[in-house]
């Protein structure tokens, strides 16, 4: 019975497909999974927008949307109606074809990334041998759409925002790749379902998730930093800094195209959180061995929503980083730490099985972090906080 | 016509288009774009021969193509850096205007 609840979507799809003749069955099977993804994640996006606005509001000591529906939960419907019915303004000197294609390319590339995420036991749309490489290939395609949006608007602010966004995304893409390579090295495969299977063991009730190892913890922190920068979220949201660049590369977009950009940004957030849970947090596996009776897809989506909550929390709490600060941070601090993390993961593998490897790996990582941090901060004279009040 | 021959013809066509672009365009960056097209056509040739040739389990063709992709990326970076530096010096990327050795 519990097994049935765990596999309920797989069984449902199998039952629906069994009504069709044999040659059509594989195609319709895939189409049903695609339809499920394309309908579920935008619905989750609608829920997340109201979650974010209420969450940010509470962090900033105000209430947030509370007019539409009980506690504002029907706000996304109002937002959707507004976006769909607003006039679609295209500037006269804008490059019409590229201006139209930019949000389309973004949304298509982001949706493709969902195909390799294992959302539950046996619930991967395309279980590819090089699944992680496919995901990063789709992520690389989103950068081009950002540039297309900024350039085609013929607007200096848009172009500036687009250049900043692309520079930031390619810097942090290297960090993202390197922190994932550590996981690939330890799991021995690029296939995401095999990476989850490698973490799905328990010893004394506790799981073997990679985040519970020194290199996994450091890797997860670096992955989270890179994920925040890749999706242009605070504190790395200078490209769309509302107080500086109007709206960055999507200044000249209105109506449905802006809604597509918004959708693309949030879907990228979901997909990169999904990948982070797969790589470091054990994907669909339960945290304790006595909780494995809860269906696997519930665990995956809970971890996903927890990551989204952390994204929203970071947005409300941390101040924005300046462009040169965030580029320096990526190339001079996080990238060397990533390379060191690779080395430490290798040491972890070959140092035997006792407490010695915990001690050695933790000391190396914490020591390097302290040394590099001290080296960077030594030249900045940051004293105690001082306040200036208006007269 | 065998599948291999079709792939080889497509690769030959891509190569000649890249060559035509590299030889006829004025802008230095477009010449580099033509060069990238030529490299890609060669990669297509390599993979087609890997797939339809003897001993695909030796992975020679695929490995060659992967190394070629890496080298092409490095060469594009250096080439574009050179073009940017030339632009800073001569304030133009027009290749027809750069017809003197005097700098």
């Amino acid at each position: 019975m519990i097994d049935h609840l765990d596999q309920i979507f797989v069984l449902l799809r199998h039952w629906l497909v069994s009504f069709l003749p044999a040659p059509l069955q594989p195609v319709v099977c895939v189409l049903l999974s695609v339809a499920a993804i394309v309908s579920l994640f935008p619905a989750l996006f609608a829920l997340t927008t109201v979650f974010e606005r209420k969450g940010l509001a509470r962090i900033q000591n105000r209430i947030g949307p509370n007019r539409v529906g009980p506690f504002g939960v029907l706000q996304p419907i109002a937002d959707g109606i507004k976006s769909l019915t607003k006039e679609d303004i295209v500037p006269l000197s804008a490059d019409a074809a590229v201006h139209f294609l930019a949000p389309v390319v973004l949304v298509v590339a982001v949706f493709m990334g969902f195909a390799v995420l294992p959302m539950g036991r046996n619930m991967v749309l395309a279980d590819m041998n090089a699944g992680l490489l496919f995901y990063f290939a789709m992520g690389a395609s989103t950068e081009l759409s950002v540039f297309m949006a900024g350039w085609s608007s013929r607007n200096k602010y848009s172009l500036l925002g687009a250049m900043r966004a692309v520079a930031q995304m390619i810097s942090y893409e290297v960090v993202l790749l390197l922190s994932s390579v550590t996981v690939v090295m330890m799991a021995g495969s690029l296939s995401l379902s095999k990476i989850v299977a490698a973490q799905n063991h328990y010893s004394w009730g506790l799981p073997h998730w990679y985040i519970f190892t020194p290199w996994g913890c450091a890797g997860f922190v670096m992955y989270a930093i890179a994920a925040t920068a890749e999706t242009n979220r605070s504190p790395f949201d200078l490209p769309e800094g509302e107080s500086e660049l109007v709206a960055g590369y999507h200044t000249e977009y209105s109506g449905f195209k802006f809604a597509l950009f918004f959708l693309g940004e949030y879907l990228a957030m979901f997909s990169i959180s999904g990948l982070g849970t797969t790589l470091f947090l054990g994907g669909w596996s339960a945290p304790f061995s006595f909780l494995t009776w809860i269906p696997s897809w519930i665990w995956f989506f809970s971890k996903l929503m927890l990551s989204i909550f952390v994204f929203i929390w970071l947005r409300g709490t941390l101040p924005r980083l300046r462009q040169d600060q965030l580029m320096n941070f990526a190339w001079k601090f996080v990238l060397p730490m990533c390379l060191l993390n690779l080395l430490v993961a290798g040491l972890w593998r070959f140092l035997g099985d006792g407490w010695a490897r915990w001690a050695v790996c933790s000391v190396i990582l914490i020591g390097a972090y302290g040394a590099m941090g001290w080296g960077e901060m030594r030249r900045k004279h940051i004293g105690p906080r001082s306040y200036r009040y208006a007269e | 016509m065998t599948p291999l021959a079709s792939y080889l013809l497509v690769a030959a066509l891509l190569f000649s288009i890249g060559l035509a672009g590299a030889l006829t365009r004025r802008n230095a960056i477009l010449v580099l774009i033509g060069i990238e097209l030529m490299l890609n056509a060669a990669n297509l040739n390599l993979i087609a021969f890997w797939r339809y040739g003897p001993h695909p389990e030796l992975l020679t063709g695929m490995m060659f193509a992967i190394f070629s992709i890496a080298v092409a990326a490095a060469e594009a970076a250096v080439g574009l850096g050179l073009v940017i530096q030339i632009y800073r010096h001569a304030h133009t990327t027009d290749l027809d205007a750069m017809n003197r050795m005097k700098g």
């Binding site: 950068e143 | 079709s6 013809l9 960056i29 850096g81 940017i84 530096q85």
Partner: protein
């Protein structure tokens, strides 16, 4: 040949033509990206998944963006005064046509002796990894050296000069 192959080949060749013929340089770069995508799909059609995904990741994710940045940094998006084709365009076209004629003649002549369809090779990433550190370890190390040299070289070549303006 299958319909998928013709579609992908048409897409790639159309992208390549557009990349070489359009007036606006940024449009050329975007058409080049379409050609790269078409090529990646052709690789996937040839059962070379790793090469296909690496093509997307490296070419579309890095080289296309490099080209676009270079166009923007050199004001390439302004239309040139004297037209987009050089003075000697006819000779260039002739040479390219000659090269295409030679290559296609060679391919069509040897259609008889080309190998036919073999079984689909199952290539896993594990095999590629083993090959990289086994049979191809020397090229791997040399490519590592080359990439380091290219990184340092690109930074030095494109750096602002120390004297004069900053």
């Amino acid at each position: 040949m299958s319909f998928v192959f013709y579609l992908l080949a048409a897409l790639t060749v159309a992208g390549a033509f557009a990349a070489m013929l359009l007036k606006n340089t940024v449009h050329c770069a975007l058409a080049l990206t379409v050609a790269f995508a078409g090529l990646a799909l052709l690789f996937l059609n040839l059962d070379a998944q790793f090469a296909g995904f690496a093509q997307i990741l490296v070419y579309i994710g890095a080289v296309a963006i490099l080209v676009v940045f270079a166009i923007l940094l050199t004001r390439g998006s302004e239309t040139p005064r004297d037209g987009v084709f050089s003075r000697t365009w006819f000779v260039g076209l002739l040479i390219a046509a000659g090269v295409f004629a030679t290559l296609s003649w060679a391919v069509l002549q040897s259609v008889r002796v080309l190998p036919h369809e073999t079984a689909v090779p199952t290539v896993t990433v594990l095999q590629i990894g083993n090959a990289l550190v086994g049979r191809f370890v020397l090229p791997l190390e040399i490519v590592a050296l080359l990439l380091t040299a290219a990184t340092i070289g690109a930074v030095i070549v494109a750096m602002h000069e120390k004297e004069g303006q900053q």
